[in-house]
């Protein structure tokens, strides 16, 4: 048993998403005339912010709704989002203006979580469909302006490449990542295959990058519903290992897991710790989850000198943290698992991303 020394890439090697804030706008504020300072507009009909001017966002929410949002908590905003899906974009824009991006992200996440919930009195939804739902189609900071949107999207792709080629300092982990479209399709297929037989089966394999910078998923057959054999050496000629991939089907446990999806288990942290892969990619239901190693996590593992007893000790510590957060969280199974993952990721320096389709958002905070 041997862990290879991995190539590390500094966070500055690839463009950061934050760089788009520095894109010069034609509409940059400048003093053009003298005179009285104009009145401050009321909330909801606020004058456009610098970000709006740059990205071309406009808000025309009904005043009552705008005033309500101004006083609302993230959970209350989440309820408004659910009640007025047709106004979601304007609501998020207003919330971002009034409370800031972090608050808006919290509200969107809360609304998404509420969307996950299934009425226990109703029959569980069928999860056979491979097409992800569009509850959160894009990151909330996605610019509306076509040119700036293009920059943002390039940034997300660069961010994925950054995580794929090396281990990043936790301070430089990107906010958003965009998975390659062929990998999204492969994950859709893996998910569909997980439910293709009478008994659900975890599917997966190795996500690799070839010398041309393209990504491929090397699938492997599996018949177990809760185990998957990973093989770090299953890498083709001129390919490098990027991520270990697997699925979490919960169709056969629908009575207890009506949402029929859940994020990483405690055992997945053990597996990632032992793997030479930079990331773990998981598909469950309509969601894709990613755990990315950081330099700080690697330092923790490398310090153990590949001693099996010490590795077991670290794995046990992660399990303890996971279980504690899981037990302390009330709600659905997927929410309890999410709490476990967040607790371990934050304590042991892993970057955790979730989303649907290609675009994933980091859920763990930077130190």
């Amino acid at each position: 048993m041997r862990r290879d020394v991995r190539q590390s890439a500094d966070g500055s090697a690839e463009p950061q998403l934050g760089a788009i804030d520095e894109v010069p706008s034609a509409d940059t504020t400048r003093f053009s005339s003298s005179g009285a300072i104009p009145d401050v507009a009321p909330i909801g009909t606020a004058a456009p912010t610098a970000s709006e001017r740059a990205f071309g966002t406009t808000t025309t929410l009904p005043p009552d709704l705008a005033n309500m949002i101004a006083k609302a908590t993230p959970d209350e905003v989440a309820e408004v989002l659910l009640a007025h899906p047709q106004l979601a974009e304007m609501i998020v824009s207003t919330v971002t203006q009034v409370h800031g991006a972090a608050f808006a992200q919290q509200a969107v996440t809360a609304s998404a979580h509420t969307l996950h919930k299934t009425d226990p009195d109703k029959a569980p939804p069928t999860q056979g469909a491979s097409t992800p739902s569009k509850a959160i189609p894009t990151p909330i900071e996605m610019p509306q302006n076509k040119e700036n949107r293009k920059h943002f999207e390039r940034g997300m792709t660069a961010a994925w490449n950054q995580l794929a080629v090396g281990t990043v300092d936790e301070k430089h982990t990107p906010e958003y990542i965009r998975l390659p479209s062929n990998i999204v399709k492969d994950l859709d297929k893996a998910w569909k295959d997980s439910l293709a037989s009478k008994q659900e089966r975890e599917q997966g394999g190795n996500l690799v990058r070839d010398s041309g910078g393209d990504y491929h998923l090397r699938r492997k057959e599996n018949t177990s519903s809760r185990m998957f054999d990973q093989d770090d050496s299953d890498v083709g000629w001129r390919q490098t290992l990027v991520a270990q991939v697997h699925t979490h089907p919960y169709r056969d446990e629908a009575a207890q897991v009506p949402e029929q999806f859940a994020t990483f288990s405690e055992g997945d942290f053990d597996s990632l710790m032992r793997s030479d892969a930079h990331m773990a990619v998981l598909r469950s239901g309509p969601y894709t989850f990613v755990l990315s190693k950081t330099k700080q996590f690697e330092k923790l593992v490398d310090a153990l000198g590949n001693d099996e007893e010490k590795l077991k000790g670290l794995a046990q510590q992660m399990t303890t943290v996971y279980d504690k957060a899981f037990d302390a969280t009330s709600g659905m199974f997927s929410e309890k698992c999410e709490a476990g993952v967040m607790a371990v990721a934050e304590k042991f320096h892993l970057a955790y991303y979730t989303g649907q389709g290609s675009d994933l958002t980091r859920k763990t905070k930077k130190p």
Binding site: V257, G267, F333
Partner: protein, 168 residues
Amino acid sequence: MKRLVLAFALAACSGTSKPVVTPGQVVVAGDTTFRTDENNAIEVSVVRKHGGKEATGVATLHDMALDAAQRSPLVGVAAGRAWLSLENALTSEPAAAYEAARKGIDELGTAYRTKRDGKHVTDDTGSTLKLAEMSAAQGDLARAAEQTADVLKSRIETYLRVFKGSVE
């Protein structure tokens, strides 16, 4: 020619020699008995009692010395089998069956979560154990026992797969 002969001799000598056990030796350590057999095999039998029942689990270890066998985590396979038998025997008493399965999980361990030749197991059976705990908390002990026993069985099979050639 001399060099060639020397090279062959070195190659023959440098091969990893497997420990050899003499058939017919018996070591009893508490409820566990080790018996050496032909072909470098050591039969391990573990007796466990629970809920008024008794069961014996057996596993065969290969290519390890008798003292190494006594320290081996693979002995857990025999213990796991004993607990699985008890769980099956106690299905009419769900609380006892659930406890037997849990004890089996504890004693079996997770030594299969290791990396061998670049391969390792992504083990999500912990999630099923959490669902079993949820079943038990809701009072459905029969379901909890069934879920835990499924995991126990699955983990025993994983030991056999990961340590193929060393335990059966």
